[in-house]
Symmetry: C2
């Protein structure tokens, strides 16, 4: 029955194709076919090593107040095919050089009824496909409003997917592993509570969506270069196993307002029969424009600590007082209210973190709750909620800046917007200027709660435009941005490398809000991180936190995250005291690099395990990280990436055999061994565990007494 339906679609969808064109990826393994069906509807089809990845799927747009739309009745005016092969250098990244090698097919379409022009540009890489719609300047279409984008992704079967609920306002869900056909039944339980959330369908899911077919194909659907356009979700027709693009609407239910020349973001399909190749793909960045920042010398990866986890876990507060039912900026006089005695961002406490950062070689200190307004910032739909300028009376802005500078530490600014984006934009210039005045090189911004203007969603065109505005304006001030709760990244950091990280997914904070799945971090690199680095804020050593929540991770797993969760911005999130309880484990966090010459994906199975080796820029040291899912597992890793003939010291931070993310998370062991390019590591990782390794050349003296890896 299932098969019959599929064949029927194939018949209608492909055998009815009137005209068709085909391109192949550089290595010939991927094949993209474009065509028009009998009704003049554009369609495409993708195969990999002769297996169907995307069955014939339609392309087009439903437009507002438009009887003609851009759905059918097209003709192919012309098409162009071209080859591209270039290598470019990212400002920071998993590798120091990225190759962009693809075959391009540009199809010029004309809509017969309206004479409107729409181009579709396909780029076929060895690791997958990117395509987008382009609307050139033309006589018959200047402005148009998208009711819905009609891009289909017809799957070839009932794949296994790692998915989170489609939602206009949050990405902070735990992933569900299920068959596509099971999504509908699991949706209700998948929608866990959030500060702002708008799920929209029983079968709607978010990108990047990671799938695996029965035949072992790994398929990943996402988008690239999301600029001034709503974010795309995927709505599943679970009878036919077809994903249909579902754009985030504005407050009026419209999807996007476009002005020619215009283009959609790229829709990407990464595919391989080896999960590691999904991680190695650079499609997302390659589909983005080169850097628009000329002088990027001020953009520098940072390792940081911060006044944050103590608030997240409930030990201290962002707010200064418990006395105020409401704060009115410019009216409320904080010098006259009684402090609650639990405020985290006090000068004294901040200096403690600065001292700690200086002592242990961290680049920066983040401080949240430094500015007035935290007493009523959440849940009140408060327009003028923060000014991003005025510190609480117990936070000495100038004194702290001076102290940090003396200690050689940089302060990281915090701008929680409470999703009141007009208010944020009004204050952006002054806020960035304040940062420059006091020497803050980077800002962490937050968008917690429902959006103001009310009725807008976190991922609508309005907000996507705003996040981009904040990034570009920050670039004017040479400020790096780390935006939390902003739209999931789509590789825009290539073009604006000052977008140094995002959270934009379920981060470590949820470990203090009841916990995340123990295999969460084995999935994120296949989903959220397809778009760019994540400020996951790892490094929790004490799993039973102040408020009673439990962190579902072993300590060794936490160390591994510094390698597996790529980010040029890496936090050591736990309290300094907790690091001092485990100085030996803490050493890894201090040692681990932030920026990489090369990255190798040694083992990978989404939801189950992941092992990555990375070579640090500059030092040439290697770091290996392994994270593991719910079940204990012994992996095997070859060190053949090491230079032949050399001997290295490897420091291995691993789970003990009885470690477990729930019951025994701190059971780790550290061993030093010597390794060379012929070494093979068999290493056990506990449930929710993992391991981290530092590998480097040392003097012969240092290797004395160190045993060879067996």
């Amino acid at each position: 029955m299932q098969l019959k339906i599929r064949l029927l679609i194939l018949f209608i969808g492909w055998f009815g194709i009137v005209s068709a064109q085909e391109i192949r990826s550089p290595n010939g393994e991927l094949k993209l076919a474009f065509g028009l069906d009998a009704s003049g509807t554009p369609t495409y089809q993708l195969s990999y090593k002769n297996q169907t990845v995307i069955q014939s799927s339609r392309l087009g747009f439903d437009l507002k107040n438009d009887t003609l739309d851009l759905i059918q009745g097209f003709r192919v005016v012309d098409s162009e095919e071209s080859s591209h092969d270039e290598t470019w250098q990212p400002v920071w990244g998993e590798e120091s050089l990225i190759r962009d090698h693809h075959q391009e097919l540009l199809v010029h379409l004309e809509h017969l009824g309206s004479k409107r022009k729409m181009d579709i540009r396909f780029r076929l890489f060895d690791s997958g496909l990117g395509f987008r719609y382009e609307f050139p300047v033309q006589e018959n279409m200047g402005h148009f409003v998208i009711t819905e984008e009609l891009t289909h992704f017809a799957m070839s079967g009932d794949h296994t997917a790692f998915w989170i609920p489609g939602d206009y306002d949050t990405q902070e869900y735990d992933y569900i592993e299920s068959k596509l056909s099971e999504i509908r039944g699991l949706m209700e339980t998948a929608i866990t509570p959030n500060a702002s959330q708008t799920p929209f369908s029983e079968t709607g899911v978010q990108t990047a969506l990671m799938m695996k077919s029965e035949s072992g194909l790994y398929i990943n659907i996402h988008e690239a270069a999301l600029i001034d356009y709503p974010a795309m979700h995927l709505e599943l027709d679970d009878e036919r196993m077809v994903f249909v693009s579902h754009l985030t609407p504005d407050s009026q239910g419209d999807k996007g307002y476009l002005v020619t020349p215009a283009q959609s973001p790229w829709r990407s399909v990464i595919v391989s029969d080896d999960a590691r190749e999904i991680l190695a793909s650079r499609i997302t960045y390659n589909l983005n424009e080169p850097s628009k920042i000329e002088d990027t010398s001020w953009i520098k990866p940072m390792k940081y600590v911060g006044v944050w986890w103590e608030m997240i876990t409930g030990q201290s507060t962002w707010s200064y007082t418990d006395e105020l039912k409401a704060v009115k900026l410019g009216v409320t006089d904080f010098s006259k209210v009684k402090p609650n005695g639990k405020h985290g961002a006090t000068t004294e406490n901040v200096k403690k973190y600065i001292d700690f950062a200086a002592e242990h070689g961290f680049d920066g200190v983040l401080v949240e709750g430094w500015n007035i307004g935290w007493e009523d910032w959440f849940g009140n739909s408060k327009d003028y909620v923060f000014d991003f300028l005025t510190p609480y009376p117990d936070f000495d802005l100038e004194g702290i800046a001076t102290y940090a500078k003396e200690k050689g530490v940089q302060m990281i600014m915090h701008h929680e917007t409470s999703s009141s984006v007009r208010n944020y934009e009004r204050h952006l210039d002054d806020a960035y200027q304040l940062m420059k005045k006091y020497g803050y090189p980077a800002v962490k911004s937050g968008y917690v709660g429902d959006i103001i203007p009310r009725g807008e969603y976190h991922y609508s065109q309005w907000l996507v435009n705003h996040y981009q505005y904040a990034i570009e304006k920050a670039a004017e001030y040479q400020i790096m941005v780390n935006a939390h709760e902003a739209v999931r990244p789509t590789g825009v950091a290539r073009t604006w490398p000052n977008l140094i990280a995002n959270e934009s997914a379920r981060g470590t904070e949820y470990q203090a809000f009841g916990g995340s799945n123990a295999n969460h971090v084995t999935i994120l690199p296949f989903t959220r991180q397809i778009g760019g680095p994540m400020d996951y804020t790892p490094g929790i050593f004490e799993m039973d936190v102040f408020n009673g929540s439990h962190v579902n991770s072993t300590l060794a797993n936490q160390l591994a995250l510094y390698v597996t969760m790529y980010s040029p911005l890496q936090m050591a999130a736990d309290y300094p005291e907790n690091y001092m309880r485990f100085p030996d484990a803490f050493q890894f966090i201090k040692d681990v690099a932030l920026d990489w010459e090369n990255s190798l994906y040694l083992e990978a199975e989404p939801g189950y395990y992941l092992t990555i080796a990375r070579k640090a820029k500059g030092t040439g040291e290697w770091f290996v990280g392994n994270v593991n899912g719910f079940e204990g597992r012994t992996g095997e890793v070859k060190f053949d990436f090491l230079d032949e003939g050399k001997t290295y010291l490897a420091e291995i931070y691993a789970d003990q055999m009885d470690a477990h993310y729930k019951s025994n998370p701190q059971a780790f062991e550290i061993r030093k061994v010597s390794v060379d390019s012929k070494s093979v590591l068999k290493q056990y990782s506990a449930p929710g565990g993992g391991y981290a390794i530092r590998i480097r050349e040392v003097s012969k003296e240092e290797l004395k007494g160190v045993k060879k890896l067996k």
Copy 2:
């Protein structure tokens, strides 16, 4: 039947009052009674010379997500009565000194169910009542959302009203004169088309609402100090003749988001048995806060000409080219498109206006259509529609600035926002800085078309907040603002005197869009101008304009508007060539003052006639203006305001006996007579006509041969 209902309301509404308090105006003629009815609902009642003006009317709020609301169940905790008498000096205005003399009653209420505090502050002047709600800082209410304000204004009869349809997006309607009971039947025809409009009810009308009772009482309802709150409309219960406040909603249907300490705008009721006293009342300004601008030396009234009427009438265009279906700022290259040959804002044409201004003593030149984006600015809901920075290739920003400076003329900037307010706010700083760089002291801003963020309305809290933001930011740059299509003014110019004018009503432009009622200008001072000056852009000499529309006004009426339509910003709107056709009449526009020591309202009947005498600041010259309604009329004016014993030269610009706004509008005559304080002028004004007089002391020689006024 009508009477019975009214008595019933009176019975329920007032005789059920449990506790009551009363104050009287300084002269004792007005009486305000406040009370709680049996259900604990606050009520008020207003009388004038023992006639009921407002019958017992309820006060309160319906709150969102709140079962207790602020409707009934109040108790009076305390009340305070006080007297105030002070005189203050406006920066500009109809008088050089304004007296604020009132009796105040402040009632502290507590809501029994919720223990929430709400104060109501009444101020009773000799000319009327102001009252507002205040929400002090308190334990039980920090943030609240208004579903509706429940302020009632119960009329004592089926008054005659001069009304325009209640509308969330436009004020640009012709006024209808009708009985209250006729509003419902006339609403459909009253709603004439507009670029953006959202009427909301069959009996909804706007403030300032002017009424006249059968017994001859003039009653005006408006609001004062509209700050961060939605604009109020009045919805009529036309069975009971009760007006109920109807606030402008946001895109979600909510009315206002408030944070304590908070207050509503003042609700004002001006009342007199003499229509002239309505115009003489200074309640609106007195209910606003004193100036927040310390150094106001840069705020100066301006008389100006501009490149504007030629676009309004269709003779030239705002846009530069007809080639573009859409403009994409930053992408579209205007140096490569073909000009349409009709662009108004060319360097050459602007210089012509500068020359004209310099020659005839005008302070400024406004230029619209100078900046790129006019090709697709309207009707496309275009977010990034203007940058307010980039001139068209044929507008030499720097050259024009230099030329104007040489000629001693100041340029007036134009910022049409196309109602895309986020875009405007993003560019405000740069745009104001550009103005400072090129020496523009004032900006005319426009809000044509539907609001972006989409779903918001021109008069919602979001937009009211925006207009205020633009004013306050302009003050930082010492820039004067003349905002068209912004919310109707409510006296905020007292607090921010750089808000030098608004249009915010049906201005002269409508005379080129098919015409306005010939009596329109006899009503505006009683309605729109209760809130502040109007940039009505008068001075049209050629009534049959380029596009075939006819200006429903005589030439003499146009001259009178410089006196009757008070504004510190006055345009001479017609083409220079038309002024050169009538240099004698044009002389009045050149002579008339802009700023006044004193204003006297000599004759007044809304909809019919209006005669105002004003004494110029500095020179001591007097100017008299009379505007007339549909029917010809001979008025009588005593010159007893002149200094006794002195003889003055009066230049009278009046309609000829056969003048008519439709058929013979340019039939005017100028006569010079001598007058003194005993003179009485009997002067005919044609249908849609009027007259204008300049009165001044001159040398005896100049008076030689001048006849005495008979």
